[in-house]
């Protein structure tokens, strides 16, 4: 049962524009959310996170928004750059998850020049 869902397998955006990656979750116990970025043949790397007590967290070009009532979060990348082309995974954890993260299936972002 997929508790973290990324319903868009792929997204294509022009360089300089905004990329918006979406993530939905079903478990109301989740209290911490993370985004990971993965290039081919490499392990995922941590990008940005947000606690459930916040609704926004910003780090440079990356901003994550959390809407708890809708059980929805989104990652905004502004401006998008070709080097941002990668697979982005949304992940979530809750206090009883035994330290493990639940991951979505990923969204492949392509930023075109």
């Amino acid at each position: 049962d997929q508790q973290v869902k990324q319903n868009s397998p792929s997204l294509s955006v022009q360089e300089g524009r905004i990329s918006i990656l979406n993530c939905d979750y079903t478990n109301s116990m989740f209290d911490y959310f993370l985004w990971y970025k993965k290039y081919p043949a490499e392990g995922p790397t941590f990008l940005i996170s947000i606690s459930s007590i916040k609704d926004k967290n910003e780090d440079g070009r990356f901003t994550v928004f959390l809407n708890k009532s809708a059980k929805h979060l989104s990652l905004h990348i502004v401006p998008s750059q070709p080097g941002d082309s990668a697979v982005y995974f949304c992940a979530a954890s809750h206090p009883n998850s035994g330290y493990a993260l639940n991951f979505g299936k990923g969204t492949s972002l392509l930023v075109t020049p």
Binding site: A41, S49, F89, A91, Y99, A100, F103, K105
Partner: protein, 115 residues
């Protein structure tokens, strides 16, 4: 910088072979994990360990076992490899982040092909 090292980048094995995937982390993290990544399925948790000699099943433990004899080392064992275990295997370690929640650090992955 945290370093999580997986012993092999690419591995080719035959059906029925016993396969060992090794992972070492250098940050004294308590928690270590094994995930597999398959196209269209994302990252799925196989096993994790929160202390030496401790292990917990993840979402897809069937056909796998693990060993954690030392804090820095976490091994994934395929007792009898099968073709449906062809996948990218990712090891991770974690600490509890300052902002709350577990923050995982991943190795570069091992692409295993079972023929």
């Amino acid at each position: 910088d945290v370093k999580v090292t997986q012993s092999s980048r690419y591995l080719v094995k035959r059906t029925g072979e016993k396969v060992f995937l090794e992972c070492v982390q250098d940050m004294d993290h308590e928690n270590m994990f094994w995930y597999r990544q398959d196209p269209g399925l994302g990252l799925r948790l196989i096993y994790f360990s929160y202390d030496v000699k401790m292990k917990e099943k993840g979402d897809i433990p069937e056909g796998y076992s693990v060993s954690r004899e030392k804090k820095e080392r976490f091994s994934l064992i395929l007792e009898s490899a099968s073709t449906n275990q062809t996948s990218m295997y990712l090891c991770a370690s974690s600490f509890f982040g300052a902002g709350g929640g577990e923050k995982l650090f991943f190795g570069s992955g091992t692409q295993l092909s079972v023929l």
